[in-house]
Assembly symmetry: C3
Amino acid sequence: MLKGKHLIDPMDFTTDEIEEIFKLADQIISCQREFAHICDGKLLATLFYEPSTRTRFSFEAAMLRLGGQVIGFSEPNSSSVSKGESVADTIKTVGCYADIAVMRHPKEGAPKVASMYSEMPVINAGDGGHQHPTQTLTDLLTIRSAKGRLNDLTIGCCGDLKFGRTVHSLIKALSRYENNKLVLISPSELKVPDYIKKEILEKNNIEFIEVEKLEDVIDKVDILYMTRVQRERFFNEDDYIRLRDRYILDKEKMNKASEEMIVLHPLPRVNEISCEVDDDPRAYYFKQAKYGMYVRMALIAKLLGVK
Amino acid sequence: MLKGKHLIDPMDFTTDEIEEIFKLADQIISCQREFAHICDGKLLATLFYEPSTRTRFSFEAAMLRLGGQVIGFSEPNSSSVSKGESVADTIKTVGCYADIAVMRHPKEGAPKVASMYSEMPVINAGDGGHQHPTQTLTDLLTIRSAKGRLNDLTIGCCGDLKFGRTVHSLIKALSRYENNKLVLISPSELKVPDYIKKEILEKNNIEFIEVEKLEDVIDKVDILYMTRVQRERFFNEDDYIRLRDRYILDKEKMNKASEEMIVLHPLPRVNEISCEVDDDPRAYYFKQAKYGMYVRMALIAKLLGVK
Amino acid sequence: MLKGKHLIDPMDFTTDEIEEIFKLADQIISCQREFAHICDGKLLATLFYEPSTRTRFSFEAAMLRLGGQVIGFSEPNSSSVSKGESVADTIKTVGCYADIAVMRHPKEGAPKVASMYSEMPVINAGDGGHQHPTQTLTDLLTIRSAKGRLNDLTIGCCGDLKFGRTVHSLIKALSRYENNKLVLISPSELKVPDYIKKEILEKNNIEFIEVEKLEDVIDKVDILYMTRVQRERFFNEDDYIRLRDRYILDKEKMNKASEEMIVLHPLPRVNEISCEVDDDPRAYYFKQAKYGMYVRMALIAKLLGVK
């Protein structure tokens, strides 16, 4: 039973609980109309202390497509947080108006604190560089929908594997399913941190290799997860430009990949994936955004206990 | 009949009209579901020329929970007020789209001007340090729900009684009911202004005392209304810190109070009330926020004439 | 069939297609209730990269009054456009959540680019000083409703005819209907550009005169379209003040006009029209705002193919 629970860390739910959400997402995808009113009379509060249009739109669209309604703010300036109120008081007050809340916050741990004082479910929509659990659910549902399974897969992760929050969460999540293999593709400066290798990969006996060149391994992966190399991670512009351009996915590289491979990206992309790839049927990153909405519909319904 | 009226000043409505709103609020509280569609097809415009998340959320949740819909802005920057349009023109244009409007404005009197040019009802949601009538309705409904009456009460008001808009309005409102007594608790620098004593309290023969120490009188009040001591009211930081801390309500003080006393606060609090008090059943300030939504539901329904 | 089309340029639709929209608008005006649910389950995204409360409110009210729902942002700061995403990627992602989008953008051509990559209909709600097609539809519907026709009319356009985007679009639109005459009233510094005279008026054999004084011609027009003289168009403040005040419409000038003349203005006005004119039954500018909402209701319904 997920009713009344919070979702703060991608690992908060068991694989069984996640499967429960995915099964509901499947049903919603196959017949959205049937679910158009299951949240009638319910109210979602979107508390974005940091702007994130994409994530906010996805949650709001999810709630509205279930028949629910939305109140919220999209940046701290348009809210009255400046009056010095604690996160605890804010969530308790918002709980007087809404039935479920989504919080994005620049400070790590803020959604966790909120959940500790909240009588309604709180969903973490990103806290600093920390956690973004609904992105992980999105990634998993996309893989599951494309491949029919979450085990026995070879997943390539490409780009900034050092700071990339979404990749770390995805690696942790995939480590819970059987017989997955990881191909970690990054410049040496941006390799996966040691604690992930030791505490996640080795502990769970996950086979993995680390390489520098995307071309060398693209034919071996079932899934290629591309990530943005963020300008703000670098000390100087030269390093940024040199590294950013090294991993651009283009038609030439795609020609070497399997016909069944799919390409994922959490979006927004800058130029890690060339636009010429967009029309390739293996380009799944916009479909992924759509799965993001569906998985949030399922999640909201489950936490509210209406399904 | 309240249909089509504006609410600008807390004293705009007679006690009979206020009772009419409260009776509807009672019905909504006892069976919210019955009212879930009474505003179907109606549109509320929230015009916040100054951010106030709490108040805006309360109004928006109220309208959405009645089946209505909301358009609005939450701060002047995201609106086109910079183009030099008058409040009169703005409200006339918004009246083309919406059925009822809520306005918060940094300039005293702006909602009044809007109401003079508006064909739809206008609700003042705070104009500068001036009026905030739905806060007063919230306070009254909370007292009435907790105590079963608005007369024969001893009300303690504590904190900044000089500049506190909500306290002034509450004193005026309570002066219209029989046999209420006031205990005014504040540092001498922040006492209730003379005009309130003369024109409201003495004129209406309201018994009152002024004291400096909360501990001395906490056992004598039925209601303790705490207010925030705002930093911006002081010339220097030292005065602020000294006075702010003097009136903190904590467990020790609560132990001296009656079992039937209730504590109110308009929120947000900074530290006027210690968090250790939150779990005390006499702590009513979060319930008060909930009553705020219910009273706005009733108010909107009455002004639109749908109930 | 307008289903699935975009509206980027006021001339994108044929006069037949426009008539189709107007006929639906007529039906909506005569019985709004019948259309209160035709967009149930549909989602409009309002993407305002530049604030414009009036236009945004009009679109949002239109969608909500058809039973649809809205997600959106009202200024670029509260969105994540700063992450360097292309308009193409943004519209493709938003298309995962919404069924139709409205875009306002400071850069000319941005909505056009968006429409090229979008699978859902895109409506241009203003791109820089370029196009604002729903304002033109609003103007035409207002004239058609007041006069019963869009041909055989003498239309006076007064104010800034050089930079005024709305006037240029209106002139182009009216040139497609038979036997209209134009009276162009402006200071010599702000006359209609030559390309409009040559490529629109002369090419379509539209009779027109250019005058400097409003008083001289006000009795000859069926419609007087007033426009704002924008401060930002002038190099110095003196020129602005001198020219702005020259064309103020007041009671005295109205006395010289026909009883059947109507006054339009795209709003917001500053002081081009004296407030004393507002109560004149010929003052149509607030009604025009209302027609703006109706025409957007009809447009949304047509592009979505629900009517």
